[in-house]
């Protein structure tokens, strides 16, 4: 055995300690590294490890539907495929472009340029129609894939377009009901974690949220069939009278539910980008117009209610011209002495002004406010206008007189139809409403939604009625309104064979901002009424702006009213009575009010 002197310098113990020290240092080094990795950089490596085998999936909420009264779909989010490309993975861009061009209808050179780009990801076409997506899928091209996205779709096109509004490309509500009820329709995105496996499978680690809370479908009070009657009649009426635009609002007389709300020119929310901003607006609630003679019913009701005028009182209508200060008020045709009924039937501005002037401004203003003018109706429709009612403190005598026959006051169509509906409801103002109920994810219909604290945050359906005038006064005005559509009245064209119709025409001049006075050529023709007068089912307002063939409400708006109401009554099984018998049976009306 070779025992060299050098080797013997170190004892066994020394060598053992050396080896132990070496291993000890190695161990400490490993321990240090472990401490670094496990303690100091723990979070970083945990995340890194998770990212290799876990994936967070975000479930975008499926936006709620908008339905009509009968559950017909008015707006829905449908899942469509969006086509993308990863140009770096495409083997032959030219071949891919050649195959895709005829399907997608995208110019070949544009598509080829996109596919040849050096980017990692490009959209080729978003939200493809299903048949196009199927054809592209069949091609099985490398580097080309789909991402599923939701798109808001309005199956009826321009049907109630302004009322429903529209949602943007990312399905966020931008206008109308879509915007007003955005928090309820949109819901909240849900997140869950999946584990990535071999064979490209995923296994959920956390529970998939099946029910996303706080998301609802909205059921409107709109009846698609009545809406169709309104839209069709309005379209034909506006085209025939060569008017600029028009609007119709139909209420269920007893409940105030909005059965139809149409505006012309129409607006298709599927192609909202193609329309100007003015087309987006729902004129029925945003338009402020001077109601003209339709307002006389308010003046007369207020006068009767105050006891300042009586039904058998006679009024002198100044033979067509009446001077207030330096201002001259005219009637469309000269009248002498008239009864109260005749004032409404013949639509005398002078006598209406006299009735209005008989009331103190504050009292008259109070009645105007009670009828719902000068405040939002809170019907649940977006962008409601308040209108404009001058404070009685600022009323000049001419303002007072003008307001009495519906000038110098701005109202919205919805306000006007609600005010007229008072006479169909024994003198009570019935708040109009558009949302019948909301439907949760389980299909349960809800009339109210509570917040986290258990307090009601949203309420739908019937509102609280408020008394405006006494029932006897309303009944009297209703009789006068019936006479308006009868022989000698201004609205004979609104009369419907077999039914009693109550209503009032309105013809108001449009105020010309440039001239600083009322225009002599531009008018708003309107008609508001309800039928059957004995037990009203539907209250309808028609407003036509700037008609050119005539400017009278009785000529332009009344026939539109007649068309809508006649079709609605027949649709609702309220049958007409033979000529000479103008009363409807209660049973028929009860059937209709379903």
């Amino acid at each position: 055995m070779n025992h060299s002197p050098h080797f013997q310098l170190y004892s066994f113990k020394t060598r053992l300690l050396t080896v132990l020290a070496f291993f000890g240092i190695c161990f400490l080094a490993v321990l240090g590294r472990v401490f670094f990795l496990q303690i100091l950089k723990a979070d970083y490596y945990i995340q890194k490890a998770k990212s290799q085998h876990e994936r967070t999936v975000t479930l975008e909420p499926h936006r709620g539907r908008i339905l009509d009264k009968n559950g017909r779909i008015l707006a829905v989010s449908i899942q469509l495929k969006s086509l993308f490309a990863k140009p770096t993975q495409i083997e032959s861009p030219a071949q891919a472009a050649r195959l895709l061009t005829p399907i997608l209808k995208i110019p070949y050179h544009k598509l080829l340029n996109d596919l040849k780009s050096k980017r990692n990801f490009i959209w080729i076409k978003r939200q493809l129609p299903p048949e196009q997506a199927k054809l592209v899928q069949k091609l099985s091209l490398n580097g080309i894939g789909f991402i599923e996205e939701f798109r808001r779709f309005y199956p009826n096109g321009n049907f109630a377009g302004q009322l429903i509004g529209y949602a943007g490309i990312d399905t966020q509500g931008l206008e109308g009901i879509e915007s007003k009820y955005e928090p309820l329709l949109a819901g909240k995105p849900a997140v869950y974690v999946v584990e990535k496996e071999g064979m490209f499978r995923t296994v959920p680690l956390s529970n998939i949220p099946k029910k996303i809370p706080d998301q609802y479908s909205i059921q409107l009070t709109i009846d698609s069939t009545i809406q169709h009657f309104a839209e069709k009649a309005l379209r034909e009426g506006v085209v025939k009278s060569q008017a600029d635009r028009g609007t119709v609002v139909a209420l269920h007389s007893k409940t105030g539910a909005i059965l139809a709300m149409a505006s012309y020119p129409e607006f298709d929310p599927n192609r909202y980008q193609n329309y100007s901003r003015a087309h987006h607006l729902n004129q029925a609630v945003t338009l402020g117009y001077e109601p003209g003679s339709t307002f006389k019913m308010i003046t007369i009701a207020a006068g009767l209610s105050e006891g300042l005028i009586s039904p058998d009182q006679e009024f002198f209508c100044e033979n067509g011209e009446y001077k207030i200060g330096i201002n001259l008020i005219r009637d469309s045709s000269p009248h002498g002495v008239m009864t109260l009924q005749q004032v409404l039937k013949k639509s005398s501005n002078i006598c209406a002004a006299k009735i209005g002037l008989s009331m103190p401004p504050t009292r008259f203003h109070e009645y105007i406010m009670r009828f719902g003018f000068g405040r939002r109706p809170n019907s649940g429709i977006a962008a409601e206008a308040t209108g404009r009612v001058i404070s009685p403190k600022n009323w000049q005598t001419i303002d007072h007189a003008n307001i009495s026959f519906g000038q110098a006051i701005l109202v919205s169509p919805l306000q006007m139809v609600s005010a007229a509906n008072v006479f169909a409801n024994e003198g009570e103002w019935v708040p109009p409403y558009i949302v019948e109920n909301v439907i949760d994810k389980n299909g349960k219909k809800l009339k109210e939604i509570k917040d986290v604290e258990g307090e009601v945050s949203h309420k739908f359906g019937l509102g609280i009625r408020s008394p405006v005038v006494e029932a006897s006064v309303a009944e009297l005005v209703r009789k006068y309104l019936i006479s308006v559509t009868q022989k000698g009245g201004t609205a004979q064209r609104a009369a419907i064979l077999g039914y009693q119709v109550a209503g009032k025409t309105g013809t108001s001049q449009i105020y010309d901002q440039q001239l600083g006075r009322y225009s002599k050529t531009r008018y708003i023709a309107s008609f508001v009424g309800f039928a059957p007068a004995s037990d009203p089912l539907v209250t309808v307002l028609v407003v036509v702006e700037q008609p050119r063939t005539s400017h009278y409400g009785g000529t332009i708006a009344a026939p539109i009213f007649k068309e809508i109401v006649q079709r609605t009554l027949l649709f609702k099984d309220v049958l007409p009575f033979p000529e000479g018998n103008s009363e409807e049976t209660t049973a028929q009306v009860e059937t209709a009010s379903r």
């Binding site: 899942q79 009826n156 296994v203 007409p576 000529e579």
Partner: protein, 128 residues
């Protein structure tokens, strides 16, 4: 060493500490147990069976979870297809289209009050 003697040694209690568990005997018990081939075999057999059972349950869970996941995907696809059909139904049965079709293909016009008047007059006159 037999099993009964091991158990007996573990159960043996000193007179002074009757109700006290003797932790110090635990390693001895394990060690002595490991001396026995049969016991070791039994223990490892049980451990192996347990592991296999756990593994099979885990695999089964993953299979079921994956199946649920794929079924839910299928369900949502079918749901959207159904929704698309509902939309088509809504589109095809919209009142304006039905009215146009009724007029064009069946020559049907919308009802008029005059129709009711006539039929009612007829009935009343025949009754008289």
């Amino acid at each position: 060493m037999s099993l009964s003697s091991i158990v007996h040694s573990a159960r043996r209690k000193p007179r002074s500490l009757k109700h006290q568990f003797r932790w110090k005997l635990v390693p001895r018990f394990i060690w002595q147990s490991m001396q026995s081939f049969h016991i070791t075999l039994l223990v490892w057999g049980l451990v192996t069976i347990g592991c296999i059972f756990y593994l099979s349950q885990w695999m089964n869970y993953r299979q079921v979870a994956h199946r649920i996941d794929s079924l839910e995907t299928k369900h949502s696809k079918l749901f959207y297809e159904l929704e698309l059909l509902e939309v088509e139904t809504s589109y095809l049965t919209r009142p304006q289209r039905l009215e146009a079709l009724a007029g064009k293909t069946m020559l049907m016009a919308s009802p008029d009050t005059v129709q009711y008047q006539l039929s009612w007059v007829d009935v009343s006159s025949s009754a008289e």
